[in-house]
Assembly symmetry: C2
Homo-oligomer: 311 residues x 2
């Protein structure tokens, strides 16, 4: 059994995007097994368990990932993860990966795949709301798929927004107001908000939004009016209804399961698509176990593992 | 992060039984978090993912366990498992345990707890149907709780039954017919049968049965008539209905959720009990994630781990 203490450091982002895109295609073609992720609540956070089997890569396994918002104050990441990989022929555990970095990368890649298919332009103004690790991962992954002409960054803490904008190494990146950040072609929201912070009046026609932050019941970043105006795509309907951007609007009746336009997998395989440059589109990302398997598959090929006795 | 390559070798079976009994008491008192185990089907078997949080021990984690019936022909165990333990305050993964041996031990302990509370006698004739690792674990664990006067062992392969009986190191242990094995005070069934092998007419009044083998949809060891005659206790109703001894009778309508007398947890806390020495009782064991946490908790105290980098 191999343990990978820090995989993903030197992964080619193009490879990651492609691997995640293929996993979504398998999902769109119903060629995966993936029970909905399960939540267990702990005193200061929660952990989620995400099993899946991806026949196209002959890979099966489980990611276990926590979310503890108080961790940064203790010098720890909010999110940490391990992925266990099993041999599909015998069920033998063959690998354990530290999946903390991989989780960021595969979520960034999902956003990039959504942007590639749903953003109406190839050259974009990118709006970034929230400046955590996931915001950075989204920019890096999206930069492989679209030409970023300008980045408009907002954070509740303007100093963080300035540092983030400066850290991107792109000439046209600025710290702006929330309203200014929303005036863009592609908006990425990555905050832990529990009530809407993005107003509908700030979102113009033709915007694509990657709604990344909401990943647990009660979390919500967008004015529900935006969802009513938009074509809403989800990664997985069951997970999105349970814990994605649509979970609160579904719970209070302002959005319905039938209002979901489709899945990102259906978009990737061409079954669903943006129908006009004026349409507003939203990708509601909750994170799929098949993304974790897809990135584990390429990360393991890079080596860097420690051999552990198992049998 | 600590890796335990082979924990449980030298665990005191009394400690294991007590730890598992306490976990069932917590379950009976609704003091655990435990989503139902999830199944993913692989080409030659399946794997199950079992997360839980046991506040009384401040322990949380996930067991991942496969079942591949063809493995012995390849020189591998049918069942292999890993357990991940997380720090409940921060969600940090703190330990990974090879849980193959622990899985046998904790299942044996559940059978011993059921026998302790539900068997009407302290000195027993023990009937054993099936002679795999789980049969051996049941005998060892039960021997801590009851006085075993005689063991009657049946296997489809009589040589295996003889070897098993001889290997127990008890004077009164014999290879017998299936009907003779069923003529006992405590019957333990541990086969992978997919249709009933134990006939109702063979089970006399006052017998307690640990039905261990059925742990996936379609598996079944007992004539459903036995369930109708008996008071049926389960480890967890949702899991038992999905994949325990009662799953087939529930699916075909010969047994109903309402026919479940109670849970082993309710028995341990005294909320439910055997009401007469003539009653037939059945414990339908599917295996709970809290059993895995309880045994991991004591196994980790024994040391024997390898330090792994994580953060």
């Amino acid at each position: 059994m191999q343990y990978f203490p820090d995989p993903g450091q030197d992964l080619d982002p193009v490879l990651v995007n492609n691997a995640v895109e293929s996993a979504f295609a398998d999902h769109g073609n119903n060629r995966v097994q993936m029970p909905p992720k399960m939540y267990v609540t702990l005193p200061q956070g929660d952990f989620r368990t995400m099993p899946a089997y991806l026949p196209s890569l002959s890979i099966a396994g489980v990611k276990v990932v926590n979310v503890h918002p108080g961790n940064p104050a203790l010098g720890l990441p909010t999110v940490m993860a391990l992925t266990i990989i099993l041999d599909i022929a015998t069920g033998t555990p063959t690998a354990i990966l530290n999946a903390t970095r991989l989780t960021n990368l595969r979520t960034g890649a999902a956003g990039a795949v959504a942007a590639k298919y749903l953003c109406p332009k190839q050259e974009i103004v990118l709006g970034i709301v929230g400046t955590g690790q996931q915001a950075a991962a989204q920019v890096r992954a999206i930069a492989q798929e679209l030409i970023i002409r300008e980045v408009r960054v907002w954070s509740r803490n303007p100093e963080k927004a300035e540092a983030f904008a400066a850290g991107l190494g792109l000439k046209e990146s600025h710290s702006v107001t929330l309203e200014q950040a929303c005036d863009c072609d592609l908006l990425v929201t990555t905050t832990p908000a529990r009530s809407p912070i993005v107003k509908s009046e700030w979102i113009h026609e033709g915007t694509h939004i990657n709604a990344i932050g909401a990943d647990a019941p009660g979390k919500q970043e967008l004015d529900p009016e935006i969802l009513r105006r938009a074509s809403v795509y989800v990664d997985d309907p069951a997970q999105a209804i349970h814990s994605g951007e649509i979970n609160v609007p579904i719970a209070n009746g302002t959005f319905a399961r039938e209002d979901i336009e489709g899945t990102l997998g259906e978009v990737v395989i061409g079954k669903k698509r943006r129908t006009s440059p004026c349409e507003i589109t939203v990708f509601d990302s909750t994170g799929l176990a098949i993304q974790d398997l897809a990135i584990a598959h390429i990360a393991m090929q890079r080596g860097g593992s420690i051999d552990l006795p198992f049998l």
